[in-house]
Point group: C2
Chain length 306, copies 2
């Protein structure tokens, strides 16, 4: 006899990201044709030979092509100096045919990531990592929001997850995911960049497990971005809660192969939660789609046609 | 027979602020004498006739005098345009005899507070309200931290309140207190601007009362900056917790006089808490002392002698 269980609705990031790319394609085509504009353009800078970085950049370039954004990848040797990178960024900043610049992180250890992020013209900073844009995010001014945080926000909106006055636990305090996430979630909706009005608890590596459980049990939404496999287990999830899994870790399976998993015990938690994102196919594709959105935004702003 | 109760230790902000002013006075005298520098200098801009603003600026000017900072207040009519204010700020930005600039908030309604805050040279922005400095705070770079948040941090340090892995509830999400507070509290201590490694829950006007109670009961530290009288009551405080009251509200007493109170039911909560700040005499004086610290910092940075 079949077993019937109420299981969480899967938040299909892959599908939503596809929808967004289609929407963007339409908007970009229209913008180009109606205003006689050149296509928006994106340059990715990659330093060194990290295979994961190469794969990420490749995905971004494919998405760009799909939506009608011209793109180019510039590769520098891992021996490139900070000055080499800054010179290149400076050239791209001045180049009127470039709308969006992304420097794929991480950069080699002898280069300051912060210096590199702050070197990108804030108007071309489609990753939203420049301190200027982070400051704008703080005060809820319109800006480039880091793509993963923006992607999660978009999923929350499209799946009509309620946030006003709700409790959210964010696990992980990274500057590109956890922190901007907390910023968007807690703040006032009556802003240039509207917030989601939730009560936010920001947990991290120094949050004791029992405290995380105390907060998670009360959470209407849990967003986990830590890279800790099985951090979120069914016993700590409130029935019906929305679980967003930003973690991506490659693990070895029993048969010697590898697979990607998130921070969440998906099988267990999906029997308790109301909504859940899978890994892969959840947040990942949204990050790339949002990068395209930000690039188009940059093109429009630089052209003065927002 | 006398009743013996264990009551909270009072965090004496007035005394600590006095200590800090004395320390600063010594440091500034030394810096001026040893380097043949002119005294650090501070200009306050006040627009309109708000009596509270006038009082605040007066307090700041008195503190400046006490620690050996030259200060000046420039008053503009409430009819001054945004352009008038920006012109003045621009002049002060260029003036080499000015180290710190503060525009007393609020500005009149026809003026954009954000535009004014962003007009101050970030190197002279002793209030830490420029988006550039807020962005630096986000990524834990050395910067001017908004004075009230810096003052609370200093009290926590001087009273040796533990924060590592502890739970903190911040009530109020203002950009000058609640948000920077949350930023300092949650972040990693291994940074240029070291964080306090706490788990932070940021509550605000749309946090339901019962949820606030849930979080507060588990909190090792509660920081309330809302202006809601009696928001924090004894039943929601964990025995031994540290209570920091940033609220200031003027209320009418039964005899028709007025007095200043905070967000915390002081009499009730001090019977449960381990530490508590009074209002007045708690956080208030610290804000002014930290402004002096930031001004001295600005003078040193501009002179290149940090």
């Amino acid at each position: 006899m079949a077993e019937f269980k109420k299981v969480a609705e899967i938040i299909d990031g892959k599908k939503v990201a596809g929808d967004i790319r289609k929407e963007l394609k339409r908007e970009i085509d229209e913008w180009v044709q109606n205003n006689n504009n050149r296509a928006p353009s994106l340059v990715a800078v990659i330093v060194g030979e990290d295979p994961a970085s190469k794969k990420y950049v490749e995905n971004k370039m494919n998405a760009a092509k799909e939506v009608g954004i011209t793109s180019k990848t510039i590769k520098l040797e891992s021996s490139a100096t900070e000055k080499d990178i800054l010179n290149l960024i400076n050239k791209l900043n001045k180049d009127d045919t470039v709308d969006g610049i992304l420097v794929q992180l991480p950069v080699p250890e002898h280069v300051s990531e912060r210096t590199v992020c702050n070197a990108v013209d804030p108007r071309k900073d489609i990753d939203g990592f420049h301190i200027n844009n982070m400051g704008k995010l703080c005060v809820n001014n319109e800006t480039f929001v880091p793509c993963t945080a923006l992607g999660v926000m978009e999923l929350i909106k499209r799946y009509k997850i309620k946030t006003f006055g709700k409790n959210v636990v964010v696990c992980g305090r990274s500057k590109n995911v956890g922190l901007p996430m907390a910023m968007l979630l807690h703040s006032d909706y009556r802003n240039e960049l509207p917030g989601l009005e939730a009560t936010v608890t920001l947990c991290h590596r120094n949050t004791p497990r029992e405290e995380l459980v105390y907060f998670a049990k009360r959470a209407d939404i849990i967003i986990s971005a830590t890279g800790v496999v099985n951090l979120i287990t069914p016993d700590m999830v409130k029935p019906g809660a929305c679980i967003i899994d930003v973690g991506i870790t490659r693990i070895q399976t029993e048969d010697g192969k590898t697979k990607l998993v998130g921070d969440v015990d998906f099988d267990g938690v999906s029997k308790v939660a109301g909504h859940i994102t899978p890994v892969p196919g959840g947040v990942g594709p949204m990050t790339v789609a949002m990068l395209m959105k930000n690039t188009f935004q940059a093109a429009k702003s630089l052209k003065g046609t927002t």
